[in-house]
Symmetry: D2
Subunit: 309 residues, 4 copies
Amino acid sequence: MTDQQHLSRVTVPELDRVLGHRWPVLDDGFIRVIDYMGSDESVVQAARISYGTGTKAVHEDVGLIRYLMRHHHTTPFEMCEIKLHVRVPMDTWRQWIRHRTANVNEYSTRYSVAIDAASKTETNGWRRQSFKGKQGSEGFLSEEMGQQLTEREAALQLFAREVYDERLAMGVAREQARKDLPLSTYTEAYWKIDLHNLLLFLRLRMDDHAQQEIRAYASVIGNEIVSRWCPAAWQAFNDYGLNSLSLTAIEIEIARSLVSGERGVALSIAMRHGWLLVRDGRLRPNRERAEAEIKLARLGLNPPWQEHP
Amino acid sequence: MTDQQHLSRVTVPELDRVLGHRWPVLDDGFIRVIDYMGSDESVVQAARISYGTGTKAVHEDVGLIRYLMRHHHTTPFEMCEIKLHVRVPMDTWRQWIRHRTANVNEYSTRYSVAIDAASKTETNGWRRQSFKGKQGSEGFLSEEMGQQLTEREAALQLFAREVYDERLAMGVAREQARKDLPLSTYTEAYWKIDLHNLLLFLRLRMDDHAQQEIRAYASVIGNEIVSRWCPAAWQAFNDYGLNSLSLTAIEIEIARSLVSGERGVALSIAMRHGWLLVRDGRLRPNRERAEAEIKLARLGLNPPWQEHP
Amino acid sequence: MTDQQHLSRVTVPELDRVLGHRWPVLDDGFIRVIDYMGSDESVVQAARISYGTGTKAVHEDVGLIRYLMRHHHTTPFEMCEIKLHVRVPMDTWRQWIRHRTANVNEYSTRYSVAIDAASKTETNGWRRQSFKGKQGSEGFLSEEMGQQLTEREAALQLFAREVYDERLAMGVAREQARKDLPLSTYTEAYWKIDLHNLLLFLRLRMDDHAQQEIRAYASVIGNEIVSRWCPAAWQAFNDYGLNSLSLTAIEIEIARSLVSGERGVALSIAMRHGWLLVRDGRLRPNRERAEAEIKLARLGLNPPWQEHP
Amino acid sequence: MTDQQHLSRVTVPELDRVLGHRWPVLDDGFIRVIDYMGSDESVVQAARISYGTGTKAVHEDVGLIRYLMRHHHTTPFEMCEIKLHVRVPMDTWRQWIRHRTANVNEYSTRYSVAIDAASKTETNGWRRQSFKGKQGSEGFLSEEMGQQLTEREAALQLFAREVYDERLAMGVAREQARKDLPLSTYTEAYWKIDLHNLLLFLRLRMDDHAQQEIRAYASVIGNEIVSRWCPAAWQAFNDYGLNSLSLTAIEIEIARSLVSGERGVALSIAMRHGWLLVRDGRLRPNRERAEAEIKLARLGLNPPWQEHP
């Protein structure tokens, strides 16, 4: 009888195969999947209850998932849930935890002795401050400087651990002893989140502008885990999320003028928005113009203010 | 090697056995479990990572779960997730949806034709307005009145459906045709929530003050589903949540005086808080005093302002 | 002394001037602003604490707000909060309330008698079901049909109210008497939300695909209220949010080929993604292709599968 | 005309007077109020729209606020919002940020150079590890030990800052240079939250079990800020929240037996729940029993398993 039909849980053999597997990240971190609920199929199932007969027009599941992703119908993706066990430097965790729509149980250095591991930097891993963008890094310092920096790092981490251990030995409360641990100290957590919010996390944290450390974690989650768990959603996210391009109202106007060959019009639009101020005979830096250049280039369009492409 | 150890998903055979089963609620509603993640064991697992060695003192899992519940350590309970398929009158759903910490996919009457079912009231099911409390109902109207009310209900629901069907037949958009559907019309939804937030829902909605209809749903979720899914958490919730008693600072003072036999002191505390104002030689109604009476009675204490218990 | 400097609250005279004003919406609804916190200035202030010296590079406030909006730095926009008093048909409210990140106090038909007003449709206001899209409406039914529909609507609403009043008169509890009220019945609520989440709401609900009724409310909130409250954020939202264009990875490829004049390449990309299946000598409908056509048109590009632009 | 009546913003002169004032916390932290929305009056206003005529029975505002607090009608308290500027050691901030229902803009050590201040411990401020409870501290270490610990703390903080400054001087990216900063380093943030969620925060963080550092912040927020902002809600929170007492179902049973003089019954209840296991002729430690003892004592009840009260 259909009313009393029995269900079995949705399973994803591809993911079951790697349940508990530790993907190493950084020098001493990891990510592993503890449990999950749902799959691509669950996204489809939820959409079909929501959109009812309306969804019959979309004959196949992959097409429906792609449609949902393209149109920001996000609630069906919330029907999948995953639970990860992660080991992360506290510094990275500080960024991670800012994503509020997740459930978290973190290792407590109040109840327990802090994990005796801090993330270390290899001599060729010291990144140079970028002065172009507002943040971030670009390129690496010399191996020579790296050696000096890595030695000092080791000395500091050693000293910090000594002081921590001394405090415990002298009877200081753990909650207070930990106060000077370096941010590089590893912590562990169970982190549980639904697929929609996980994709929001990945979109921000797999981005070029994300800090390298958290990007390393996000890449494993995306490329190793979500790709196995919900392959259709993952592909749709790549096509419509990660690799999409958002044009502002101003950029649309400029692109349109360029497409129809009206470079003068495009130029005047840019001027009107203050993109082309000149100082000492040269264009002054303008962030919005710089962003537009990159986007136009992706469309094969050559900005009229750049003479030689 | 323990680092690369393989995991299997946590399963709960008791719940697996009833997956997909429809528990009927009201005249045409139901609840069924679609999927779940975690179990009592997952609560323990999460607590142990959080509290680390600290939890070793608690030797057995049930004791740990009870400790967590008693002390409002709620995050480990967030590590379990359940997905229900429910069929509910829209009127009840309006209350249900106010619980914001859940994922929802509701049947859309914009995309699809509205479900052709409205909740009906039996002739002996018409509740009388309560005038004591600020809301709610108490007792039932006579069978005779009930017959009249049930007839009119049927007539109204029939008329409403006729008008809806007419609109569709004349080509009115579904999104507009639905505008006069009665609140009693059934809707369906997938509703996904973590165990901690589900217990908050149950605490409010299994309560005496909750409206009978939503209480019927909440009782099935609690007694039939959570009790199978996470029996230790469910028992702890009964002992420390559902059946607990919260005394205010004022009630503690009064109880303490009564316990030590100082009825005069108890009386003066009640007076000081304006509980014993008199009009026409009788105590004026006072909500806080009335609440205190019920609580003191649960402790076997007899308020000093009530001469004969 | 700067450490103990005194602050005054941020005020927005433009908004203060209309505080409490009722903007009418639909036949008997309204929106009014009850209170607010913050302004454009508060967005800037929050960004400057977050990005510290980094933001000094952005010399003026408007430029910073525009930068934040363009780059989805959303947290500074969460620093502004607004509280509205709205009167809305329950049918519309059902959509509204799905936005979970808001604080709500709704008029209770459990504690109080339901508002005696239901939204009515004018004879020329009956919308035709659209069969192209998956939802929505297009165009209107004839005035003649409209008259018939409006009459029936009035009869149904009258009957529903009679039944409701009868129930109350017979002593039925309000919580039960309301069960067959039509969804068109007005409700009222206080709705409080931060600017970031309000803009998410507006992006969805001012969109062409949103139902006309909620769009009417969203337009008032955007055009009348947010525009006065935070004019710089509002302008940025228009340029980078409302009127922006998101191209998928596939659309970028096609646009790029068209820009460089390689129509054949563009065609083969579309084919590879199954956009150009033919039945009976004609292109079969394909949603993704149809969406691409609209976007390419905004850029002035002519799809290679359309012979005559 | 009432429909178009003009409103003025709710203001709280008591709070306006201290807007921007820095309350110092710890050795170098502070809290100040930047802005707020609403007051006690707004709680009442929201409750009255929600509960409509039902609230007319409660004649005065303070009584209504107390009623709402006692009955966990939390939504009206969400109608008030406050924005604080805080300066906190990162170690404390890690606990703080776990409260997810708030809006946050934190000072970024990625965009800017880290604040050059770390929280220091006075020689008489080193707390001893507690071995009774599962966490926390009790009492202080000797002044002599304190001197040694404080010296080492200073040396470590100095070294850490040297290494940080060296890295910046050598051109290391700020995002990487910060990786070994001690957790004691101060950070700053704007933190915005509604009154209901702020009270939840205070209930946890003003509690005896909260760590001393965050308790210092919570106390200022409660005693200095909320008390001025919403005095009636604050008083109700003290009476019904902070100083209330929650009895479990088991404790109720035992208390009831004790009240009626049936010590033997009380004893057998305790036994049945495994509270009275004996080892080597003495009662084994039992957490739940220990908790019950404290609660019974607050009611003036003497547990039957303790011979001499």
